[in-house]
Structure formats: structure tokens, C-alpha cells
Symmetry: C2
Subunit: 336 residues, 2 copies
């Protein structure tokens, strides 16, 4: 289908985002780095392998239980570097502020970014600030880009996924999505759930140390686990089968989702990732993940079946097999 105007779903991380990239960006920005469609670009300069990535953050509200737009902006980009198998080193920060934005909010956000950067072991080394007149933006938008080095022996890429690989998830699904949704509009369920925003660089180091056969990693942000697995199935040209009963979900998140009629599978996370590794190393990787602060609820949730045009098959809790398509949009606009 052809769209004359940009829809919210074009930014949702689902089907329309994929189409926008494949049809508009790739043909013109054509180069082998971008075409890999990973969380970041990987390139060599001299003998050293680098990764480089960017994300803009437009989350609404900007402050929420468990974090704020600043922490998200640091952790999100740190995590995209980590997903390339890289060690995050340096970040840039670009601020677009609306005239009249409270200086106290900006100070809180800067402090939060500073704390998140320290925790993630990265330095924010360059930046930019633009201010637009009242009404031309909604408060604050932050872009971060990041540079990291890759020293891992293997090639971490969705293209390296093989039949037989095991899929491991590092923890509960939907916490960030539910937290943001609950802040919106008239919703305000009394919950103990907070955003899971966290830097995953340390967890990734532990994972890479545990196995020389880590094939792919990706964080389950916009579009949730559902979008990520559906996308990776197509990119790896395999059937990925996930066992719904094994996906960790907090009871409160499950309850919230039942009331609203939404599926935690498609809710955004900001500190959760999937790892694809060889079957032989799966238990070692799982054990390593469980030893880490951000992996203690890790679980093996599925396996990669045969080569295919790319399908995500969910073994549902009630026992059936359901094919999951890339969601057509994000459940919650401005989730990150």
C-alpha cells in the first residue's frame, strides 16, 4: 500500500517502519553497512572493528516510574551498541527543546543522563542544543548516537542465526510499555511495575565471555518481543518457534494487559534482550546471564527451526501454534 503522508505506525518499529526503511531509505542511502539492518552499523578502521548507532527519544511523559527520557536516551543507545557485540565507549547527545521548557526539568534530565552514563561506563563527549518556538515541539526530544569497539571473536549478526539455535530472553516482558501506558490519559492503575530501562553492556560482556557461538542479539524495544522475533525470522530466513509459557511476565503486567485487552508480547521494553546461540552453549549462556543483575530472570524461550522465507511461530499457553506477523504499528505512540 502507498501512503501519501507519514502515519504514527511508520515510527512504531513494526511493518510500516520496515517498509519505510526498505522502500525510502535503503535505495538512496545504499551501502553495505546500512543494508544489514542491525541495531547498529559495524565497520573496520585499520585492524579495529567498530559499531556506531543512533536513536531519537520522544517518550511521553518524560518522567515515569523507573526512569525518564534522559536515562532512556543513554541506555537505549548503549544497548544498541551492545547488541552488535560491542563495548559502548562514547555517546553524543542532541537536544531539541521547546521554548519555555522548564529549566528544572532539563537539569533533572541532564543529571539522569550523567548517572546513566556512569553506570553504563560511557562518556557523553559531544552535543548540540536547539530550541524551537513554543508549539513547534513537545517539551524535549533527545537524540543520542554512540560509538563502541567490537573485540568478540564471532560475527554477531542476524544473518549468523542457524537452525538449531536456542533463543534466550533476559527477563520479564512489558514492564516499560505498561509503565508508560499507565501514565497516559485517564489510566492510573495502582501497580508496583516500573520501567525496566537499564544498560545491557555488562550483561552482554558476560554473555560473550560464556560462549564463542553467540550468533545474534537484539533488544526488544518498540514493538516488543513480538516485533523483534518476527523481524529476525524474516532477516535470518528461518522459522523461529517461541514457547509462550516460558516468556517471563510479571503478574501485574499480565493483569493490566488482560484488563486492556493487549498482549505483553508487543509491549516495549528498555532493558530486555534476546540472545541466539548454539544449542551446545545454551545452558552455559543461560547460567552466565542468571549470574548478572540484568539477567536473573533469564529463560530459554525457543529454538530456531528450519530455513524458510521467515516465520515466527508461537506455541501458545493453551497448546496451539500461532503464526505471528510483524505488528502493523506500535500499541503506544511515543513509548521511547
Amino acid at each position: 500500500m502507498k501512503y501519501d503522508n507519514v502515519l504514527l505506525a511508520h515510527g512504531g518499529g513494526g511493518l510500516l517502519t520496515g517498509q519505510l526503511i526498505a522502500e525510502k531509505f535503503l535505495p538512496l542511502f545504499s551501502n553495505p553497512y546500512l543494508e544489514k539492518m542491525e541495531d547498529g552499523a559495524v565497520f573496520n578502521i585499520g585492524d579495529q572493528k567498530f559499531c556506531f548507532t543512533t536513536d531519537s527519544y520522544v517518550v511521553n511523559p518524560i518522567f515515569f516510574p523507573g526512569g525518564d527520557i534522559g536515562a532512556l536516551a543513554v541506555n537505549g543507545t548503549v544497548n544498541d551498541l551492545a547488541m552488535c557485540g560491542g563495548r559502548p565507549l562514547f555517546l553524543s547527545a542532541g537536544f531539541i527543546l521547546e521554548e519555555g521548557f522548564p529549566m528544572a526539568h532539563l537539569e533533572t534530565i541532564i543529571a539522569s543522563m550523567s548517572e546513566a552514563a556512569k553506570k553504563a561506563g560511557v562518556a557523553i563527549v559531544t552535543g548540540d542544543t536547539k530550541v524551537v518556538p513554543r508549539g513547534a515541539a513537545d517539551g524535549i526530544f533527545i537524540n543520542t548516537a554512540g560509538v563502541g569497539v567490537i573485540n568478540y571473536i564471532g560475527n554477531v549478526s542476524v544473518k549468523a542465526i542457524e537452525p538449531g539455535d536456542v533463543v534466550i530472553l533476559n527477563g520479564t516482558m512489558g514492564d516499560h510499555g505498561v509503565t508508560i501506558l499507565n501514565q497516559r490519559q485517564a489510566l492510573s492503575f495502582d501497580m508496583n511495575i516500573t520501567s525496566d530501562t537499564a544498560p545491557l553492556g555488562g550483561l552482554v560482556e558476560v554473555i560473550l565471555d560464556a560462549s564463542a557461538h553467540i550468533h545474534a542479539m537484539r533488544d526488544a524495544t518498540r514493538g516488543g518481543l513480538g516485533a523483534v522475533i518476527a523481524e529476525m525470522a524474516v532477516q535470518s530466513q528461518t522459522i523461529i518457534e517461541i514457547d509462550e509459557a516460558r516468556i517471563p511476565v510479571h503478574d501485574e503486567v499480565r493483569g493490566f494487559c488482560e484488563v486492556l485487552g493487549i498482549d505483553p508480547l508487543f509491549l516495549a521494553n528498555e532493558g530486555k534482550m534476546v540472545v541466539f546461540c548454539s544449542e551446545a552453549d545454551a545452558l552455559a549462556v543461560l547460567a552466565a546471564m542468571k549470574s548478572h543483575e540484568y539477567g536473573k530472570d533469564a529463560a530459554i524461550i525457543g529454538t530456531v527451526k528450519e530455513r524458510d522465507r521467515g516465520r515466527f511461530v508461537l506455541k501458545t499457553i493453551i497448546g496451539g501454534l500461532r503464526e505471528i506477523d510483524l505488528p502493523s504499528g506500535e500499541l503506544v505512540p511515543r513509548i521511547c
Copy 2:
């Protein structure tokens, strides 16, 4: 003075932008890379020196004579890398789109970015697209970050400026600012002036080849030549004397400025830079610049006098000496 809310001038590249950075960002993002306050961060990984920079583009209107927001977003970041003495290699692109933004406009902008990237010799290797609901942004904002390598023998830094250095400018002032201003509101003078947006990487290579004593370079964007020289005087702790009569300005730009009562010294440029080099090499650098497409109107415009707390002294056309302070804001919001 303390501000409770963000003002337009905080994004103008002048005094308030400097205060915002010095008082809010630097204390919390504290690290030696950021504290240098150059156009980009410079760091070593192994034996290789790198530069890394970012800018967000919020220009209004998004299409204008001589360019558009896409060309600006590529050239601006390429130029910041070049100003570090670097060879620009890789760019990221982060788009924030307003729901309903015309897809045809997006296509034009992507094509323009692609063309600008080819011309500048860089690849756009990673990206991100966010869409916000109608009214939450004004059409399109683009962030680019860039990575380059530095192979120059010298240390290109505002701190390397020395008394006796010669200041060379590569061409006419104010073309971009006048072009954007003329598109705004009721203004529409009949002019042949177009934005000077251009990638300066090639010109910088020629400059660096011409002399081993290039001390500093900076592009004169937001706040114009006035803001750049005033800032560099303070950062280098010298007196910089500029001869107003030697600053190239198109007649039409001068006429436009006289009618509106503004000074081309403070108008933004998107393809203009100043070079600080040793007196002995100044003529060689000038000749090299004049041989290049983007330096054919190059001129020696001033010299660095003694060490000082940092002052920009303008020798005016009528013969007096006028001290120029960092402008308190940008003449034109959303100029880039």
C-alpha cells in the same frame, strides 16, 4: 542571570547557549573530551585518532533556495568533523517526523541527503525514525552524528591558537542567513542569493596539505562569524582583531542587511569557515584555499594579537576599533 525556562536564545549559539553548556551540561557530563568545547570530540582508540560530533537540524522552512534540511544535516555534521582536522567517514541519521508529514517531502529530503553524502564522500550507515502525533513537532527534525579519522600531524584546537596567527575566511558571509530570513513571514526580496550549504571536507584536506601549522578551524554557523570569533577569542585567551573591510559580503546581502538593520557578521553560514595558521604559512594556505571550489573567495581577514582574557576587536570599515561581544541570541530562530 538565572532562567526558569528555556528561551529561544539558549539555542542560538551565542551567550546563552554557552552559559547553558557551561553551567548545566559540563558539570554533569564532565569529561576531558567534552570540556574542550570544540566542534567535535577527539579521542584515540589504539593508535588511531578519531573525531565524533552531532547536530540536530530544525530549520524552517525545510526547503529553501540552495538546499533543504537534508543537505544541511549532512553538510553540517561533515563540516564539524572537518573542523577537527578529520576526514569524515560515517554518518548516522535520526528522523523525528510529525504525523501527517507529506511522504513526498520526506522522499525529496532523503534524496537530498543521499546526494550530499555522495558529494561529501561519506556513508549514512545507521538511522532511526520516530513519528510523533500531529502538533507534537513541526514537520521534520533531523539529527546527524558523524565519525571521522584524524591523520594530521598537528593538533588542531582552539587552544593551539597563538599570538601572531593569521585568520583566513573561505568566502562570503551571511548567504544562508539571508536566504532563510527572506523565506520567512512577509519577506520576499527578489535576490540571487542562495544558501551556501556545502561540505568542507575537501577544502580542509587542501588546507591541511598546505601547512603543518594549522592551529584551529571552525565553521561560522549559528551566530555567524561574530559569534565564532568572539567564542574563539575567549577559548584561546587572546585578542583577535578582524578587519571588517576584508570580510567578503555579497552586495545583495549587504543591501538586504541594511534594509533590515542587521549585521552580516552575525548571520548564519553553512559552508564557511575560519582558519587560524602561523603567519609564515598564511599565503600558502590562502593560495591553496583559493584553488578550491569552496575557497575561491578566501581572504585574510585578521590576526591574533596578545594573550588576554579573550576579546574580539573589529577594525570597522570607517576606521574605528569596536569590541564585539558574544551575541546574546541568534537573529533568526530555526536557522539550521
